[in-house]
Structures are given as structure tokens and as C-alpha cells.
């Protein structure tokens, strides 16, 4: 360990110190990688949710009507419910509480919204399906939840939802619930 500070040639201690710094910087790459991973999890989680129906999330864009055969051998009951979140001065409810559908057959159900305040109020509907396993099989062709909705004071609007239940839906799902939570957006 006898080092002369004025020596031009790097000593073994100096060499080691350089090597240490190098390795330290390499470790920072791992840190950066896992930070990136955390933020990458946001879209990944969304994709995972949409594919697996984890958490009852459904797609937020319209599905394509593929040439699906209607499964005439079984019924699936789809139940509807709604919540209006604090701050949204609307009445909002499904016009029918549940319907029975044949998987593959396109159905239309209506929701009614009324602005009960005396100003323009905008909101966004967030859909959620339970059981989660059914979420990916509820295919929406047209939905008021794809975009924000605004109602004038006192205006009533009937909002249609066109959907079908995919025939691939697991056999044990005979009943499912679609819920809309209507949030206010300022």
C-alpha cells in the first residue's frame, strides 16, 4: 500500500478505484432498467388486463363484428348496473336490468342519462365486467363509453350499447354483469 502520490503510472489502488467506478456505473444500468420496467408495466398491465379480463376491464374501442356463428345451444344472462360518481349531476341508469343472449348474436340495450342541473355537464362512462373471465368475451360494437358525453341542462339522452357475447366464452359463465361508472369530467 505504499503509494507515491506523484507517481505518473497509475498504482494498483488507482487501477482498482477505476475498476470499481466502472462496475458501479454498470450497476446503474440495472437501476435504469428496472425504473423503465416500472413505467413499462403501465401499458403492459393494460394489455394483460384486456387480454385476460383481469380486473374486468374491457376494450375501450369498438370490436370488429367477425363472422361469428350464433350458438343456439345456450343462454347467457347479461345484467346491467350503473353508478354515477360524485360531482356528476346526472341520473343514469340502464333501461333494462338484464337480458338473455345467445352467444354470437348482436344485441342492443339502452341506457338513459338526464342532466338534472342547470349547466352543461360532461362525463365519461367506465365499463367493468364481472366475472373477469367474461370481460374479454363481451364485444362492444357501439358504445357511449368510447367517448366523453356532454348533456345540456335538463337534456335527456338515450344511449345505445350494441354488443355481442363471443361464443368462445367459457361454458361455466352463464351470468355476467356489465357495470358503468359515470365519472364527471370538468
Amino acid at each position: 500500500m505504499e503509494i507515491d502520490a506523484d507517481k505518473r503510472e497509475p498504482s494498483s489502488t488507482e487501477l482498482r478505484s477505476i475498476a470499481n467506478k466502472k462496475l458501479g456505473y454498470k450497476m446503474l444500468w440495472i437501476v435504469a432498467g428496472s425504473l423503465l420496467f416500472a413505467f413499462a408495466l403501465v401499458p403492459l398491465y393494460d394489455v394483460l388486463c384486456t387480454i385476460t379480463g383481469l380486473n374486468g376491464k374491457t376494450k375501450s374501442t369498438a370490436s370488429e363484428l367477425s363472422n361469428t356463428k350464433v350458438d343456439e345451444t345456450r343462454w347467457v344472462t347479461v345484467q346491467f348496473t350503473s353508478s354515477t360518481m360524485p360531482g356528476l349531476g346526472w341520473n343514469f341508469y340502464p333501461k333494462q336490468s338484464s337480458i338473455k343472449v345467445r352467444p354470437g348474436k348482436v344485441e342492443t340495450v339502452l341506457f338513459e342519462a338526464k342532466n338534472i342541473t342547470s349547466r352543461v355537464v360532461a362525463g365519461r362512462a367506465v365499463p367493468s365486467v364481472t366475472p373477469g373471465a367474461a370481460a374479454a368475451h363481451l364485444k362492444k360494437l357501439e358504445c357511449f363509453c368510447f367517448e366523453r358525453q356532454a348533456l345540456n341542462p335538463g337534456e335527456t339522452k338515450v344511449m345505445p350499447l350494441r354488443f355481442f357475447v363471443s361464443p368462445d366464452i367459457p361454458a361455466d359463465v352463464k351470468e355476467m354483469t356489465l357495470s358503468y361508472a359515470f365519472f364527471s369530467i370538468d
Partner: protein, 530 residues
């Protein structure tokens, strides 16, 4: 290389003294001492907070505080105990002992080491400042969401949440810096001849901890950053209204949070076998098996996170996967327990304070581990989840498994660090008081949980009264017993019987070849390991 030059001059001119010595030090022992002191102080701060809680829960009805203040105390207690007491204690030992154990002159990145420590005091201030601000009418107090920060509650919360988020950022940076330093030290600074498979267990435990830390702390940092932008900058990561999902926070949080448990425990699992072999006077059993178990546990710890929120509504395949993978952690743990007991088996044991703490640790940590195995069962977890059963369980793993382990380490190494023997009688008294009052505090909580008392409630139905009263009384005994510990440490630092270099009859390893206390610069001549 200015660092080298300074270090070089130090050897001749001696290091700066007074406050500047501590502010600017790059010496691994000084930094280790600062970490350990900080940890002890914060242990007392976090402990007093929970004594406030236990005083409130002593009997039904609100007597001392409003529910909001109660919620602030529980969350800050947890953050302080985990981030400011347990983690710095382990880092303190790493700084002190790893260079001694692997025959290195110092830590690999001494300046970084200094920064890593000095981030801690500001973050402790950030955590507790909102309490003081609230007294002056600024804000509504500290973080009141529990240490888990779950949104949307944390999005609703006041400035305490922001302070806690910044504190977590600083604490995270500090741990990452500390970890990088430890990894580099272990990779580059081992004495000639010390291969990885000859490293002391403590070094192994820390190596895996350090990797877990740099892999998971950034995920926590990311999650709380998203929370911050949700709160103030209009993002919707965790807000259903904007297409986000509050449950995603739980995934991110526990992706860090579960490995965190092993981050706290692995360093302890490192020095426990060293203490066992010292006081059993025979080499530890199954070194390789223990190292491989460490790896297995480290790997498993990052793939089991969702067992912290089984009741959040996960699909059945996910429930089954997380249940079985969680149960799988018990396999390497069983190997570790076997090795620890086999190390004692047919040894020649004596029971000085470190050994007492270690034996007590094995038993109590065993209870924590076994109840964890039961908690892995999804169906029963619906009952245990967020009840006092869980509170009791994780205090068996983190107080018994963490803090009592650290205490074993303190008694084991204190003579080496200070050059004085601690007061053995007081040490033993401290152990017995701690072990008994700990059990009396937390065993009633198992039953409270089974009977249906949820955690984090400031007041409770009368059916829970008796157990809460027992638990509160025992908690105060437990808290006050720690003053013996503090007194014992202070008087050992100030004087006492001279410790020999080997200190313990059965101690083996490089750190025991140095003088007690070791010279300011250890191993100026690097030893060679055969």
C-alpha cells in the same frame, strides 16, 4: 485520483476531527457507525409512535387522539421502522463488517458511501415534518394512508402524502447507492484467494439483498412518482375516470414490497449462522445449501407479490399461481432452518447474549414463517387479510425476524467495534424482557385477528377489549426494555472491560484477526485466504 490522495494523506496526518470528521468521512467504519446510530434513533422514534397507538388502543373509546392522527401514526411508524430503522441497521453492519470479513481496506466507492448515508437524515425529516407543520396549522398532518400509499385514498390525502413520496425517493436513492457500493465491493475487493463460495454468509446475504434492492426500489420509486403526477399533474395512472386502475398500484407496490421483506431478512440470515457457529464452536452446516437457498428465495421473492391482495379480486388461475408460488418459499426456508439447527446439533453451546437472541430469533421467526405459510392459502386469507392476524404475523417476521436478529448482531459485533465488552447481565435481561413482552404483545393479536378485528382501526368493539389491553401493556414493557439496550450500547462505547481480538472463544473469520477495535484503516496489508 483525489480520493486516493486524501486517503493516502490520512494515513500520515490522521483524519479530520469533530463534526467535519462525520460530515465528510469516507471511512467505512465511520459511515457504518453513523448508519447504526441513525437506525437506533429512528427505532426509538418509530417505537414511540406505536406506543401512542397502543395507548389509544388500550381500551375501547377514543381517549388520546382523533382517527386521522391515528392513521398518520400507523403509516409513519411503518415507513420509519422499515426504511429508517431496519434497512439502515443492515447497511450499517454491511459497511462495518463486509470490508473486515472479505479482507478489504475499505468499501469500493467511499465517496458514494458518504452520500448514501447523508440522504437519510433529510428523508427522516421529510417523513416527520408534516406532524410539526400541522401544529402550526399548515397542512393536515403526515401521510394517513398506511405505509402502502394505496390510491385513491393517497390521491385524496393532504401534503403528508407528498412529503412521504419525496422521503421514499430519497430513501430509495440512498439504498440504491448503498447497494451498488456493496455489490462493487463484493465483486472487486475480496482478498486474494477468497472466492465467492468462500465468502462469509453475511456477505452472501447482502449480495442478494443488494441485487434485490437495485431491481425493485426503482419500481417503488416509479409507482410513487406516478402517484405524485396523479395528485398534481392530471395524469390518470390509478384513476378509473381516466382509464387507469387503482389495483395497478398494488401490483407495482408489492412488486417492490414483497422482495423488501427479504431485503430486510437476508442480511440477518447471513450473520445468524455465523453467530451460531461461534457459540456452538463448530463450523456451520450446509454452507452451499444455504447459499443456494438464498438465491432461490431471492428469485422467488419477485414472483409472488399478489399474495398481498388476494381479496382484491384476481382471476382463479392467478390466485392459484400466487398461492402455490408463495408456498414454495417455504422449501428453501426449510433448508435454512435445517442448516441452522444442524449447526447447533452436537456442538458445544454457550449462551451469551448474541446466542440467546439468535436462538430466540429462530423460534420466533419460525412462528412468523409458519403463519406465513397458512396465510398463503387464498380461501383462509379472505379472513386473515387486513385483520390483526396479519399484523401479528408480520411483526413476527419483521420485529422478531428482523430487529431481534439485528440485536443479536449488535451484541455479537459490539465488542469488536468498540473494543469493550458490553454488560452481559444487562444484555441477558434485555433479551428476556424483549422476548417475553414481544410474545405477550403479539400472541393476543393473532386471536384478535381470528375473532375479526380489522387492522388500522382507531377504536374497536368491546369484544376485543381484553386482548387489546394485554397487548398494550406488553407493548409498553417491550418499548421500555429497549432503553436497557440503548444504555448498554452507550456504556459499552464509553468504556468497560477490554475485549480481546477474537472476542468470542469460537469466533472465526477475518474480522476477528484484527484488533478490537480495528485500526482506522483496516487491512492495509490485504490478507490472503487459503
Amino acid at each position: 485520483m483525489s480520493t486516493t490522495t486524501v486517503a493516502h494523506h490520512d494515513e500520515h496526518t490522521d483524519h479530520p476531527t469533530g463534526i467535519m470528521r462525520w460530515l465528510t468521512t469516507t471511512n467505512h467504519k465511520d459511515i457504518g457507525t453513523m448508519y447504526l446510530t441513525f437506525s437506533l434513533i429512528m427505532f426509538l422514534v418509530g417505537g414511540s409512535m406505536i406506543l401512542g397507538i397502543r395507548a389509544e388502543l388500550f381500551q375501547p373509546g377514543l381517549q388520546l387522539m382523533n382517527p386521522d392522527f391515528f392513521n398518520q401514526l400507523i403509516g409513519v411508524h411503518a415507513l420509519i421502522m422499515i426504511f429508517a430503522a431496519l434497512m439502515p441497521a443492515a447497511t450499517g453492519f454491511a459497511n462495518w463488517m463486509i470490508p473486515l470479513q472479505i479482507g478489504a481496506p475499505d468499501m469500493a466507492l467511499p465517496r458514494l458511501n458518504n452520500w448514501g448515508f447523508w440522504l437519510l437524515p433529510p428523508s427522516a425529516i421529510l417523513l416527520t415534518l408534516p406532524f410539526a407543520l400541522a401544529l402550526f396549522g399548515i397542512g393536515d398532518g403526515a401521510l394517513a394512508t398506511g405505509w402502502t400509499f394505496y390510491p385513491p385514498l393517497s390521491i385524496q390525502g393532504g401534503i403528508g402524502v407528498d412529503f412521504a413520496i419525496f422521503a421514499v425517493h430519497l430513501l430509495g436513492i440512498s439504498s440504491v447507492l448503498g447497494s451498488i457500493n456493496i455489490i462493487v465491493t463484493l465483486f472487486n475487493m475480496r482478498a486474494p484467494g477468497m472466492t465467492f463460495m468462500k465468502m462469509p454468509m453475511f456477505a452472501w446475504g447482502w449480495l442478494i439483498t443488494a441485487f434485490l434492492l437495485i431491481a425493485t426500489i426503482p419500481v417503488l420509486a416509479g409507482a410513487v412518482t406516478m402517484l405524485l403526477t396523479d395528485r398534481h399533474f392530471g395524469t390518470h395512472f390509478f384513476d378509473a375516470a381516466g382509464g387507469g386502475d387503482p389495483i395497478m398500484f398494488q401490483h407495482l407496490f408489492w412488486f417492490f414490497g414483497h422482495p423488501e421483506v427479504y431485503i430486510l431478512l437476508l442480511p440477518v440470515w447471513g450473520f445468524i449462522p455465523q453467530i451460531l457457529q461461534t457459540f456452538s464452536r463448530k463450523p456451520m452446516y450446509g454452507y452451499k445449501a444455504q447459499v443456494y437457498s438464498f438465491w432461490a428465495i431471492g428469485a422467488l421473492s419477485v414472483v409472488v407479490w399478489a399474495h398481498h391482495f388476494f381479496t382484491a379480486g384476481l382471476p382463479v388461475p392467478a390466485l392459484l399461481y400466487f398461492m402455490y408460488s408463495t408456498m414454495a418459499i417455504s422449501l428453501p426456508l426449510a433448508v435454512l432452518f435445517f442448516c441452522w439447527i444442524k449447526t447447533m446439533w452436537r456442538g458445544s453451546m454457550s449462551f451469551e447474549t448474541p446466542m440467546l437472541f439468535t436462538v430466540g430469533w429462530i423460534i420466533l421467526f419460525g412462528i412468523g414463517g409458519l403463519t406465513g405459510l397458512v396465510l398463503a392459502d387464498v380461501a383462509a386469507d379472505a379472513q386473515y387479510h387486513n385483520s390483526y392476524f396479519v399484523v401479528a404475523h408480520f411483526h413476527y417476521t419483521l420485529f422478531a425476524g428482523g430487529i431481534m436478529g439485528i440485536m443479536a448482531g449488535v451484541y455479537y459485533w459490539l465488542p469488536k467495534m468498540t473494543g469493550h465488552m458490553y454488560n452481559e447481565k444487562l444484555g441477558q435481561l434485555h433479551f428476556w424482557l424483549t422476548a417475553i413482552s414481544f410474545n405477550l404483545t403479539f400472541i393476543p393479536q393473532f386471536f384478535l385477528g381470528l375473532a375479526g378485528m380489522p387492522r388500522r382501526i382507531p377504536d374497536y368493539a368491546l369484544q376485543f377489549a381484553e386482548f387489546n389491553m394485554i397487548s398494550s401493556i406488553a407493548a409498553f414493557v417491550l418499548g421500555l426494555s429497549q432503553l436497557i439496550f440503548v444504555y448498554n450500547i452507550i456504556s459499552t462505547v464509553r468504556g468497560g472491560k477490554k475485549a480481546t481480538d477474537q472476542v468470542w472463544e469460537g469466533a472465526e473469520g477475518l474480522e476477528w484477526t484484527l484488533s478490537s477495535p480495528p485500526p482506522y484503516h483496516s487491512f492495509s496489508e490485504q490478507p490472503t485466504v487459503k
